[in-house]
Symmetry: C2
Subunit: 328 residues, 2 copies
């Protein structure tokens, strides 16, 4: 019998989960839940029904794990404890500073319901976090570096679009090659914000807008751009649509550490992602961890967990014997 | 109270474990065990005693986890079940084809003794295996590639030294840059053995040896070199000592996979290691997993486990709260 998965929230991430489920024959999409009028939502998978989120609670017997596809700002902090009382859940909560608080709220709800909720699943937090942990545990004396990009930053793109005279825009975060090379050299360089990343903006101005003023406003914007080298390109709406409609992302987690009695040897551990679609990759990670949440609950576990608490074998559809024979 | 670790076998790996323990304040080296006459073995750590391996069984109360530092060919298959009856153990058993059989033997012994034995810990098997598993679970429709090097292959160096007229030699396995780039392009290329790796040999000939014959013999050696592009350099004994006395290694695990309803997006996951010292890095991994073996046993687990079965948090000296706050 396959694992019955519910999608809770049907935007980019929800659609990504739907696509990922198609690649995992031991799982099936059981239902999609939306806050919109279900009649207005059409899903890709044939035969799958769309329900209003209010109906979820009554379907605890039909869903083995619910993948929460809302946003971290307002959706997930409320939805996860609510839904986590009735279902095993997985979410991609990515407000790093609020993870401890979110963990507490979700843990209480999941324990009350006897379910497992996995939070902060994706690539950062998620796969990048795992790689930070593994590398630090192996090389405790060393330095860790995380670089993001090349990829689209939603927050920075939104910031551009709020500038007066800007019709539309996209921002790419780009790790600086010199910084990457300095880290890979094993010299544990101290890098400033400006030295690590570059910000490249593609801006569609409104007709007759003051381009120089737009550029100046962007480049000096505190928190978002002031601490970075920022490049601003003005392009047409057509160019933006043609060349910048995808949502690529990625990045690097690099740790450089020492070994030997006198720390005479240096080691570099590097993990990197190059993603054509940020939401689809995040969804693919969510689906693998949905399998884990279900299995951990089947074993009698309950409460909130993160990627740190999940043994890798739980993610794979393969048996322990197969894994040992073919992947070890 | 710190975790008391025993080192079982004191060669390159055992010394590496000793060095790694110095970097982990929650663990201490409790004793070193050797098959040699203990009086002839001097360890680096002050105040630590050396015992004969025969004495180990009587010291079950003094050691929390034993790190087995013997070789995979003959030592570990015998030692691990023997020692695993009395101690939590970690080993670096790396004969991939014999892992299932080794698992069975160790599992029975560890269950009998109520202990946890972690086998095949290191970087391949070990960290590379983990990365193969994580990447495959996230991107089930894709291809995985493992490249080794640049690094010294002990087996191939031994093969060179067995050639008539060769006094000494070292062999480096080198991944081909074109192959790495082809994989990173996301095109899932089919690569032959020759296309993936290059073999570079540094050979010290005996005086008056027939160099052409040595080169020919190496390049046509079945299994070891015949299927590869092989470069042979003749150097002096001094040059070998000066330039080739270290044991560097490393490699790459790359998975390229698809997402999207029509598989329209490509993702590349890459993990790489660049190691100054192969045995010291392996030792560092063994020590992190020794912490895990001890903790899992403290929780009441027993039996044989691999890296696939160990939740990442068990490897870190930090608490779950610290990990969530600082590494997630």
């Amino acid at each position: 019998m396959s694992i019955r998965v519910g999608i809770y929230g049907y935007g980019n991430l929800g659609r990504g989960v739907e696509c990922a489920l198609k690649q995992n024959p031991d799982m099936e999409l059981a239902a999609v839940f939306t806050r919109r009028n279900p009649a207005t939502v059409t899903v890709l998978t044939e035969g799958v029904k769309v329900y209003h989120t209010d109906e979820a609670k009554n379907m605890a017997d039909e869903i083995d794990v619910m993948i929460l596809c809302g946003g971290s700002a307002t959706d997930l902090p409320v939805q996860t404890p609510e839904v986590g009382k009735y279902f095993n859940t997985v979410n991609s909560f990515d407000t790093h500073a609020k993870i401890p608080e979110h963990f507490q709220a979700v843990d209480a709800a999941a324990k009350e319901g006897g379910k497992v909720s996995l939070i902060s699943v994706g690539w950062d937090p998620g796969m990048f976090s795992l790689n930070r942990l593994y590398a630090e545990a192996i090389l405790p004396e060393g330095e860790a570096y995380t670089f993001w990009g090349k990829g689209v930053s939603q927050g920075h793109s939104d910031a551009i679009r709020r500038v007066e005279g800007v019709k539309d825009g996209k921002q790419y975060t780009i790790p600086k090659e010199e910084a990457l090379e300095a880290v890979r050299s094993g010299n544990n360089p101290a890098l400033t914000t400006r030295e690590k990343h570059l910000r490249e903006c593609f801006v569609v101005p409104e007709e007759g807008a003051d381009l120089q003023k737009i550029e100046e406003t962007i480049k000096t914007m505190p928190n978002y751009f002031a601490d970075y080298d920022t490049i601003v390109h003005f392009i047409s709406e057509e160019e933006l649509k043609r060349d910048h409609s995808e949502i690529p992302h990625g990045g690097f987690v690099i740790r450089s550490g020492k070994s030997g009695w006198e720390k005479e040897h240096t080691h570099i551990i590097e993990y990197s992602l190059k993603l054509d679609s940020n939401p689809e990759f995040t969804s693919a990670v969510l689906v693998a961890y949905a399998r884990a949440a279900y299995r951990m609950n089947q074993e009698g576990q309950s409460g909130c967990r993160t990627v740190f608490d999940v043994a890798p074998s739980y993610l794979s559809a393969k048996s322990a014997e197969e894994l040992r024979s073919h992947l070890l």
